[in-house]
Structures are given as structure tokens and as C-alpha cells.
């Protein structure tokens, strides 16, 4: 039987991809008690790194918000794996950490990370409402425009 969240994903027309596995001595998530700590996710779409560039220079806010959404989709993929495929076990998204590869003078971090926050609320409703930070980073791995990590509470 499809779960409530799976049904919601179908309504939204969202497919959750198979999550990426890190190629080094770390793991995509760690469960401690009822909390899932998810490694920083980058905008990998269909196995390819997308949304490279510097926000405020060659990437605009709207495109960066799409990059943040792509990061959030990968976060959902990781939390799904942490819940053995059952997203109905998600009790709450506790926190997002949003990093934007931005020019030094860039100040529109919040609307960029809204791309992730909005998606999580679309999918999980009130359980998707989280605390967060959104900051400019001087640079990010692979030159991606956005990286986001997360903490979720699961049952």
C-alpha cells in the first residue's frame, strides 16, 4: 500500500531518485536515536551535477532557488533511505543548513533557500516546517551553486 507521503509525491508529480552514495570515508546519513543527520546534498539531477556557478554573478536567484529545490529532493531521497523506504515515518524536518556559492556582496540568501523550504512543506505539510540557516559560502564542492544539509526526526 502506498503511504500518505508517497501519494502526496504522486499528486505533486515528484519522483524521488535513488540516493547518491559518497565516494569517500563518510556516509549519506547517520541515525542517532530518532534523529537523522543528512550529509550536505548538492544539486545532482539524474546522476549529473547541475546548477554550477556563482550566485550573484552567473547564476540568478530564480535559478539558484531551483538548485536549492534539487538539493532538497536529494535530501528527501536520503531520508527515505533512512526510513527504509517509508516516508510516513518522517515526524518532522528539524533543521536545514543552506549554503550558497555567492559573490561577497550577495544578500538574497533567503529566497534562494526558500526553494528547498517550500518543497519540504509541499511534501510533508506542517511536518516539513523547519528551523534553518541560509548563508553565503565563498565556494562549494564541484562549483555547485547551492549545498544543503538537514536534520530530520523519524519514528
Amino acid at each position: 500500500m502506498a503511504g500518505k507521503i508517497d501519494a502526496r509525491l504522486a499528486e505533486l508529480g515528484i519522483e524521488i531518485a535513488t540516493p547518491a552514495v559518497p565516494q569517500a570515508n563518510y556516509v549519506p546519513y547517520v541515525i542517532s536515536g530518532n534523529l537523522v543527520y543528512i550529509s550536505g546534498q548538492v544539486p545532482v539531477v539524474d546522476g549529473e551535477v547541475k546548477f554550477k556557478g556563482k550566485v550573484g554573478d552567473d547564476v540568478n536567484v530564480e535559478t539558484a532557488a531551483q538548485a536549492a529545490r534539487a538539493c532538497a529532493l536529494n535530501i528527501v531521497a536520503q531520508v527515505k533511505a533512512a526510513c527504509d523506504g517509508d516516508l510516513d515515518r518522517v515526524k518532522r524536518c528539524i533543521r536545514l543548513g543552506g549554503f550558497i556559492n555567492a559573490t561577497p556582496d550577495f544578500t538574497d540568501q533567503p529566497p534562494v533557500i526558500n526553494g528547498a523550504s517550500d518543497l519540504l512543506v509541499d511534501i510533508f505539510g506542517d511536518a516539513g516546517r523547519h528551523a534553518r540557516f541560509a548563508v553565503g559560502a565563498g565556494s562549494l564542492p564541484l562549483g555547485v551553486a547551492v549545498e544543503i544539509d538537514a536534520v530530520f526526526e523519524i519514528s
Binding site: 569517500a24 570515508n25 563518510y26 556516509v27 549519506p28 546519513y29 547517520v30 542517532s32 536515536g33 543527520y37 543528512i38 550529509s39 550536505g40 556563482k54 543548513g97 549554503f99 556559492n101 559573490t103 561577497p104 559560502a137 565563498g138 565556494s139 562549494l140 564542492p141 564541484l142 562549483g143 549545498e147 544539509d149
Partner: protein, 155 residues
């Protein structure tokens, strides 16, 4: 009884660096329940000096990797102090938040931070496998090359 982790450190020929004491109104580490939150640490060498400089300009990626390794060992020193000297109490390295001091176009943060991840797995085995986020920062305190904060689970 001999400590497993201290024996492992000896096998690896690792001497932990001195514990850096914060010179302000914050703590090196804080315990809540079975989680230890460690403040951002820098690359402290055995003689107490710090690795400084920008990775990719002043330091090569390999030197950055060594700086990250020093930083992880400082996290282990902090953990040992917080757990009253007993590193065998560690059940899991949960999460690293890793910052690399680098220029705006640097993209090899993961290769640098692998220096931290690799040594934690060398010392703690599977309990050393953590979630992590790696980002580039345009500057770090006193010019250190790497700063990492961590969450550690213990019994």
C-alpha cells in the same frame, strides 16, 4: 583494562594534539543526552602550532588534506577530554561540518576534508563513519586552513 581506541592510536603511531582551550565565553564541547557537540576546531599540530593559509593558493590540496587530518585529531582530543579520558565510550561519529579556507573558484573541498574522514575511520572503524558537509569559506579565524565542528554519539 586497556582502552581499545588508545591501543589503536598507538598502532597507528598517532599522538593526539594538545586540547585547545577557548579563550572566551564558550566551551570546547557540550554534552546533551548521549550527544557531544564539539565547537569548531582548527588544525592543531602536536607542538600546539596551527596550520594556516588558503588551500589552493598558499597550500596544495594534499597539504589541505593534512590540515584536515590535524583538525580531526583535535576533535578526538576534545572528545577524549569531554568523555573523561575514555574514547571507548564513543559509539558513533554522527556529523562533521567542515569549512575550508579557500578562494572563490576552489572546488576540491571534499578531497581536503577526506583527510578528516579518513583518519576518523582509521581510528574508530565503522563508528568513525559520519555524515558531513564540506564548504569553502573566504576566511577563517586566525587564518587557519580548515575548521571542523562535530557531533559525536557516546554511551
Amino acid at each position: 583494562m586497556t582502552s581499545k581506541i588508545e591501543t589503536r592510536l598507538a598502532e597507528l603511531g598517532i599522538t593526539l594534539p594538545p586540547v585547545f582551550a577557548p579563550a572566551a565565553n564558550y566551551l570546547g564541547a557540550q554534552i546533551n543526552g548521549n550527544l557531544l557537540y564539539i565547537s569548531g576546531q582548527g588544525p592543531v599540530k602536536q607542538d600546539g602550532s596551527l596550520v594556516t593559509g588558503r588551500v589552493g593558493t598558499d597550500l596544495t590540496v594534499e597539504e589541505g588534506y593534512e590540515a584536515a587530518r590535524h583538525t580531526a585529531l583535535e576533535l578526538v582530543s576534545q572528545t577524549r577530554q569531554a568523555l573523561d579520558g575514555d574514547l571507548d565510550l564513543v559509539t558513533r561519529w554522527v556529523k562533521l561540518f567542515a569549512m575550508v579556507n579557500c578562494g572563490p573558484d576552489f572546488t576540491q573541498q571534499p578531497q581536503v576534508i577526506n583527510g578528516a574522514s579518513d583518519v576518523l575511520v582509521e581510528i574508530f572503524g565503522d563508528a568513525g563513519r559520519h555524515a558531513r558537509s564540506a564548504v569553502g569559506m573566504s576566511s577563517l579565524p586566525v587564518g587557519i586552513s580548515v575548521e571542523i565542528e562535530a557531533i559525536v554519539e557516546f554511551d
